[in-house]
């Protein structure tokens, strides 16, 4: 372009905004909206409809409208409340512990460089690469009372005098599954927090050192405030993910012994696909959806605030 070419006049901001909002561009999102309506909207609406019906797939009769009876039944269903409590313990317990462990490991390995860092990071990330079902079976066999490696080691060390029923004790089963879950989830936090630590500006660290900040004050006063946002968002993501965790629990205990590891997702699965009671299962599904929506909204808001 020659220097003599005429420069285009700069449009005012309002004019630019109007130009962007040409109707045909709005219509371009229609296919996406249609796809979302079919794959997300329809199942959600259909679940809402089913939740107000008496519908057993084996009866070969159409769903019968019963209003809010399924929801009223929720209040008197002790298994639902046990499942809800177990879901909360499993989800929040796993996320809190694995995030703290991930944070600790990220801080401990922060100063490593070169091949040392690469080796440690590769080792710490290994559990994340193992499929969840494999993790579940791995731990299930490790926990066995007869022949399980954990009991064998503890017996050899003299820490216990008889095998512990890790997965077959009403009080130990849920924490035992959580250990497997924490082992599998911890690398996610480690990876994210390592990246967030690396992103802390050097000037900030240098200034703190000049100000003679000790190790603890460096962690608590300088690094943690920088990690807060990454920690919050990753925790929310994992809360949503753990709320839906089915594979590990099903493969390890199928919700037992008794109902001690039955979470909402396990309960819904049993109701829908073992008893074919789709009406009541849908009502629990709706409650579950609402709870997840709350977390999703908090997550979206957090992301927006961060942006």
């Amino acid at each position: 372009m020659s220097a003599t070419s005429v420069e285009r006049p700069v449009k005012p901001a309002s004019a630019r905004k109007n130009a962007e909002r040409v109707p045909w561009i709005d219509w371009m999102v229609l296919p996406t909206v249609v796809v979302l309506a079919v794959v997300i909207g329809y199942p959600v609406i259909y679940t809402l409809v089913l939740s107000a019906t008496k519908y057993n797939m084996l009866d070969m009769v159409p769903p019968k409208y019963i209003g809010g009876a399924n929801y009223r039944h929720l209040f008197t269903d002790p298994i639902f409340w046990t499942s809800l409590r177990n879901t909360a313990i499993y989800t929040f317990g796993s996320v809190i512990i694995s995030s703290l462990l991930g944070l600790t490991l990220a801080l401990l390995t922060e100063s490593l460089t070169g091949w040392r860092f690469r080796s440690v990071r590769a080792l710490l990330l290994t559990p994340w690469a193992v499929p969840f079902v494999v993790v579940a079976f791995l731990f299930r066999y490790m926990y066995l009372q007869n022949g399980g490696v954990i009991n064998a080691v503890l017996l050899d060390l003299g820490l216990i005098d008889k095998p512990v029923l890790w997965l077959n004790n009403s009080y130990l089963a849920l924490p035992a599954i959580m250990v497997a879950n924490i082992w599998a989830m911890m690398p996610f936090f480690f990876l994210l927090l390592s990246a967030a630590l690396a992103a802390i500006p050097n000037e900030v660290i240098e200034s703190a050192r000049i100000d003679r900040a000790g190790t603890w004050s460096m962690v608590f006063q300088i690094k943690l405030p920088f990690l807060r946002s990454a920690l919050f968002i990753s925790s929310l993501l994992m809360i949503i993910s753990n709320f839906n965790d089915f594979a590990k629990i099903w493969a390890m205990t199928q919700g037992g012994p008794g109902y001690s590891t039955t979470t909402l997702v396990v309960y819904v699965y049993r109701l829908a696909f073992e008893n074919f009671n789709f009406g009541y299962a849908s009502a629990i599904g709706v409650v579950w959806l609402v709870l997840l929506l709350v977390f999703a909204l908090v997550y979206l808001r957090a992301v927006r605030v961060k942006a």
Partner: protein
Amino acid sequence: MFRLSKMARRSAFVASTILSLGMAVTVSHAADKVTLTFANWADAEGATRPGIQAVIKEFEKENPDITINSQAISFSEIARQLVLRVRSGNPPDVAEIAGNDTFLLAQTGKLAPLDKLIDSKTMAELAPASYEGYKVDGKLIAFPWTLAAAGFWYDKAVMQKAGLDPNNPPKTIDELMKDMAAIKKSQPDVIPLGLDTTNRAFSLQSNWPWMKTFGANPFAKGGAKSEAMKKYLSWMRELAKKGYIDPGRKIGEFRPLIAQDKVAFLWDQVLVQGVIQSTNKMSDADFYKHYGVTTQPTGPSGKSYSFEGGHQLVIFSGSKHQKAAWKFVKFLATSPYAIEHYTLSYEASLTPLKKAPSDALAKKLDTPVFNAFTSTIMPTVTTPPYGPKFAPGSTAIMAGVQQAVTGDTPIDQIAASIEQNLGN
């Protein structure tokens, strides 16, 4: 433009006529050829796949007008998939099914009644006990394929080591408790009794005879809170507390263990012999010296019970080829080829026939294990109250059993909770 000679035109006409007729015959043959869809788990499991594929191949050879499209679905998935397929109007022609799932499918009303398809000769050849349990409203809804009742297996080597008489297995619950105490004392690493205490419909099916021998019926009104049920739950707790059972294991997980003398008594089906022998490579003669099977030790009711865990075949009413489907079902369950190459070789189970269809098969069926099952165990078979309430009920009952086995909750409270969850 060229002109064909008269001879050439005639030849072309004859050739085209022959070709057309040939094509018509081929098309008509193709139209006559029937393809049956067969949903089954035999083809999904590595252990039975070669057997079922060989039997299907043999059937197709004997019936060139029928092709079998085998659809492999895992055992744990098949009921769900069949119900969904029935609901969506896309059921297979024939399916393999077992236990409560047979009755769940029957509830959909989409199973073809077999009475009209079965000829009287075949019916007369069947042992009545093999099919009586599959009648719903007087109609036969499933055909017995393999019979696999549960028996009380005992490891004679373990018993001998414990100072017990290996040829005198316990006959009552009291004797059983004494024997298990001796076994636990002499061999602490041996699981005295292999019992399935997982929470699934099969577990209730497996535990049902134990509840029955205590006189319990949790499905009856007030049954879960009855004294008999509480006695059964207390006994289960005692077994766990004394370390006589290994809770949480599926029945299949005990099989390799008994093959290694790590389980003393096992409550399991007839097919266990095949699993043990495939694990420890024992000859038949050694197996019979090492293991035995008998009826369940009796509880307070004074009676032994068993459950039938064999597989059935069903034909769907939507099938357009019901006669061909019946031909296939009959072949699988009663033909000498299928009995020899599948029922005995791969399932190690009994047949629904009153007597073996050939002398060679009769000889194969004349073993101490098959004889024990046929003469003493099969008559003790009891059918649990299968139906729509069984699956949800099994979750409630087995959850209670697990609570009794693994926790300290008072038995009265567990029994009341089962009663509440059953909605009795």
